[in-house]
Symmetry: D3
Subunit: 131 residues, 6 copies
């Protein structure tokens, strides 16, 4: 178990249940994943997180699949097991192919490597990048 | 200065200079940025890093601009100042608009936030994500 | 299992057992949690860690509950599953209510988000903050 | 400079300027710090970040000074230079004494140390912490 | 399970199987660990990673045991459970004694602590270190 | 400047000055680097940190140069600019050659890369590593 229990629909407050139902409607499924059931202990935090996530991940100048892959990249760099699983699943559902997944991982790995090399070298930033 | 000096063309070994010249040719500019000049102290590491970066960032199932934005996302999560600057500059050069930049930052920030919330909650991964 | 076995009272050295007994006395329980049983392979490291922890977490200018919540915050940012669990449990034992837990998580999530935004923006530090 | 320029009041859009003015009113100062001036390139992101920060950091079950110290703790663990500076300054403004600052740092350092030890040991979480 | 299935020898492509067999030959065992079986979905990434790992970890100016301990140190700081387990096992196989393991952990913990203290203090780098 | 001022010998308390003088004696130099001058605001934290650092970094089952390189590895993974600079300088002073530095960086970079790949793949730990 986590640091709090997962709340069922019956255990959730009315405010939390309303968010669960918005998640269901937005995703076209009855399933509400564990993250939201854990967050439901604090309905205001649940509401703020869901509303913001929906806005940030909506189609815009970047398409939703690119946003999911960015989410996977950040979650991987931050070492978040849950988030890597949930957003990789979401990216696959939005059309990420095995080839795209392989390239995503290759870029993440390459970035982590050069991030570490630069940090070990403490290379000063080129003026050309700061203009 | 960094933990090693930046090597000029004159100071670099022949092997390192060969990599500098490949970088110039690939990018269509005489400018070689500081990261490569620092790495040049170890020509084998310079060679391996450049060869791999070129392969990973080449067009494939993901387009180069998406790859640059993924690089920025990882570099931001890893807190690498140099890499955030250099890859944001590269993304702009490849067509990232201010609107795309804003959405990139919004996704990075959102992911960082939910990564932290999930970690604080220690939410167990749903079976649905592991199938 | 971890990278080392957990040592029982019988397996622990006399020096390690002495620390176990201090932990029991300080906490008013016979239970010694896994971290200390793993550390017991190196009695000097066990001793140094326990002595320092006891001093750092003692009441002072900050009260023990605030210190536990700070510990949770750092452990969450560092992605330490064990530490998030153990220090969240400790904070609850010291009086952290569900409302306080919710606010703790909200601050952790908000900080993670703005940390990421600032890093992506590479915003220079205001002179006003450095005086 | 950062990856985007800092926007003056004159350069900011009307929506962004409205947020600047709310920040001024909330803090009782004409000064708007660099983070907000960088975020102003994306008025929607600026608005969402400010509105959420204001809500999260408001007095509640935790007092504002505790929240600022938690913010410092997370920002330190995440290695965010800007955030460490800005939130340490904010904590001092809210009454953090040198003694409190010293204890805050000691807890942050201790947590980082035991986080690393546990991770190196891969200690399994005690059932007692998961109930 | 992970975000991809582990590929058996039968499921792996010819290119991936060739890497599996090189790993077996280099290590003198029929066992191929899970990391390689997961990477095998992208044979080019598998090949590049194995070739580079073999080169980096070969005896050189640093001996292989020191390199394994450095790998454990980085993996611990990055919070990578799999890598801490696999490289601690590898270090033991190369001769790391319990005393060496204890000192390795003590250094990792000490470094994590002072990294955090310095970051919280934002101590400027001495000119003496930058010459 | 950092979040606290650097204390000169004149500004330091008697307890802090005693630590400064121990540092001078141990290192055979009059120079006391900035980290200690910042820590001196909290003489108890200064004392505890110096005493523990001295014990951890002393010759033992691992030699002091290996310990310094491990310190650099952790500091790099944690993104601590000050610590990368100070411990790289210390490693050079203890005999780290340019070839060793190059290999140290290569291992750090490789570990960071495979840490990220494993995390993105969420590869389960082999039973063989957990025995």
């Amino acid at each position: 178990m986590g640091t709090v229990a997962l709340l069922s629909d019956e255990e959730a407050s009315a405010e939390a249940l309303a968010v669960f139902n918005e998640i269901r409607a937005a995703r076209g499924t009855a399933y509400v994943n564990n993250f939201w059931r854990a967050l439901a202990h604090d309905p205001a935090l649940l509401r703020a997180t869901w509303d913001r996530l929906k806005a940030v991940m909506a189609p815009g100048a970047l398409d939703p699949l690119v946003k999911e892959m960015l989410y996977v990249a950040v979650s991987t760099a931050n070492g978040c097991e849950y988030c890597v699983h949930s957003h990789t699943a979401a990216a696959k559902a939005k059309g990420m192919t095995p080839e795209m997944h392989g390239e995503l991982l290759a870029v993440i790995g390459m970035a982590a490597q050069t991030n570490a090399l630069v940090t070990g070298l403490q290379t000063p930033v080129d003026d050309a990048f700061r203009k």
